[in-house]
Every structure is written in structure tokens, then in C-alpha cells.
Symmetry: C2
DNA sequence: TAAGATTGAGGAGTCAATCTTC
DNA sequence: GAAGATTGACTCCTCAATCTTA
């Protein structure tokens, strides 16, 4: 407010391009997953995070952190996944206030069946579109931005990062 | 689908970090603008694009391109801006099918009053958080991604990129 | 028939209020 | 009182259908 500093033209171009990416990328992720698996990207990401957890189970709050979501949003999405048979809620034995969410067998199979097609999209739009050097730069830049967007690191998705590991073998 | 190629661990970390940015950044933009100006980021961006246009006027389709939005979404948002007195619709004289949207004086003042605070957010989260080199890398990487996300370049926001120029003077 | 734009219906997200357990 | 989680009310977005003009 009191700064009165504007953007140079290079800064401006960078920002407007980046905003366009922020606007166009999420719909592209949703489109592929809804078409091929009838899942939003957020639903897929939620199932993927559960599939990586011990016993394929997490508390609501922990899952909210891994998916960068509010508890209110997650609660509705989990209800929906539960209705479709992909997830299941149970009271947490250790803390009566908490709720545990588990991936069902059907949910596990859903992730396994959906992952390859989704990875192909990620490869084609990001991984293969950039040089190895650029991808490393994107990774570093994202880490810096997350430092500002989530200073306390509550959103722990970054830490584990096992979303797309190969589950065959 | 038929590729069966998975991600290396470096690729995975880069992707999960970037997804977190995609999830956290838009809410951060909305929060600042709604708090300080009672506008969503999309509404602000729409007003800003109009403020850069000749006569502060654009056809709906052109404005949809500059804002990376569908016509259906834009139509509802413009109705809302019109109701609040920031924009105004008029039939296009040259093409009876088309609609022109203009920024009103109130809309112009709204953009001018809102821009400084928003620029401060952009500076603090992106511009000042990155080195000059990283910002240039982000710009180049964004351009590459847009090439995949919008191959035909219909979303023309990138081309003009005058969103945040200093309008004093 | 296609292009430009709008709208109805339904789904998804947000904020604030609420309930229960710690 | 605070933490964990859910829900009601409202807004926003999407898809498909529709209307008008070219």
C-alpha cells in the first residue's frame, strides 16, 4: 500500500504468463481425470495420498495437510468418495475427536487403474515439455513460492511426495 | 495409456511441489483481493484487462480470451460487475450477435485504487521471493507450459500483458 | 449451419456456526 | 476454552440447452 513500486515489463510478462498457467492448468488436470476416471483432480490426489499412507489410513487433519485443503472441503469430498465406495471413515481409537479415513480395496484399484493415464498427461504437459534443467528450476522455484504461500509448512504434501510411484512389481 | 513410463523421484518431487503451488496460489490471490477490495482475483483481472483495452471496451469473446475463461463463466461475472456498477454491456454495432463490455468510470477508479495493494502481494510472494534469474526462468517455463495448455494461443493474455502498468502520470 | 452469448440445473467450494471430545 | 470435524447457507463454476443474428 505504501510502497508505490510497480512492475518492470519483464516482471509483468513473467507474472501474466504465470497467472495464465494458474488459470489453465487445473481445468486441464480435471478434464483428463473426469473423462478417463470420473474423478476430479482433487479426488484423485486425495486417493493417491491415502494410498501412500501406512495402512492406507490417515486422520482427516493429516489428509487435509497432504492435500493442501481445508477441513471443510475435505469433509465433503471424503463423504462423496465414501458414497462411491472408494474410502471409509472410522472413529480414531486414540482420540475421540478425530476421524480416520481409509482407502477401500475398490479405492486402491481405482488409483492403480487411473495413475498411468494421469502420469501420461503430466509427462506430456510438464515433464517432456521441459528440459531436465528447466524441470529442476521449476522444482526449486516452486519450493521458494511454497515458502511464501505456506510459511509454516503445514501443507505437508511436499515432504512425502510419493504420489506417483510405481505400484506394480 | 500404453506408455507405462513412471516418474523418477526428481520428477515426482518437482511435480508434487508444483501441484501444491497450483492449489495454494489462487486462494492466496483471492484472499488479498476480497479482503482489500471485495473482488475475486478473476473479477480484478477482468477489470484490469478492460482497463488496458482501446476505449476500455472489448467484445465478450475477446475478453474471454484475455482472461483465460469460458464465455459462460465470463457472462456471469460481467453480470455481477455490471450490477455493482463497474462494467457496462452494449450491443456491438458491427455485429448484431456480439456484445461489447466497457469499464465504467467507477470500474476504472476501482482498478486504480486496487492495483497497488495487489502488486504488493505479487511482489512479496513472487517477484521478491525469487532471484532475477529465477524469475526469468519462471517466465520461460510458463511460456513452455502454455504452449501445451493452449497450443493455439487462443488465450491471448500473454500477448498484451499490460495488467499492472503504472497509470499515474 | 455456425458464431456469439446467455441461462437453468446441478456440483463443488467457502465461511460461519455447531457439535463433540480433549 | 481449544481441537477435530461436520453441516447449512450461499456463491461460483460447469455442462448442456437455448436464443438470436450472420
Amino acid at each position: 500500500m505504501t510502497e508505490e513500486k510497480w512492475l518492470t515489463s519483464e516482471e509483468l510478462v513473467a507474472w501474466v504468463r504465470f497467472v495464465a498457467v494458474l488459470q489453465l492448468f487445473p481445468p486441464a488436470l480435471d478434464a483428463q481425470l473426469e473423462r478417463d476416471a470420473d474423478l476430479t483432480h482433487f479426488e484423485y490426489f486425495t486417493l493417491a495420498m491415502l494410498s501412500e499412507a501406512p495402512d492406507r489410513t490417515l486422520r482427516m487433519t493429516a489428509l487435509a495437510g497432504r492435500t493442501n485443503a481445508t477441513l471443510a472441503r475435505l469433509s465433503r469430498v471424503v463423504s462423496n468418495l465414501e458414497r462411491r465406495g472408494f474410502a471409509q471413515r472410522m472413529p480414531c481409537p486414540e482420540d475421540g475427536r478425530a476421524t480416520n479415513v481409509s482407502l477401500t480395496d475398490a479405492g486402491w484399484h481405482k488409483v492403480v487403474a487411473t495413475a498411468p493415464g494421469h502420469v501420461n498427461l503430466v509427462r506430456s504437459v510438464v515433464i517432456d515439455a521441459l528440459t531436465a534443467e528447466e524441470l529442476a528450476q521449476l522444482s526449486a522455484i516452486s519450493a521458494r513460492l511454497l515458502g511464501k504461500l505456506d510459511p509454516e509448512g503445514k501443507m505437508a504434501a511436499t515432504a512425502r511426495a510419493g504420489e506417483y510411484v510405481d505400484r506394480r512389481a
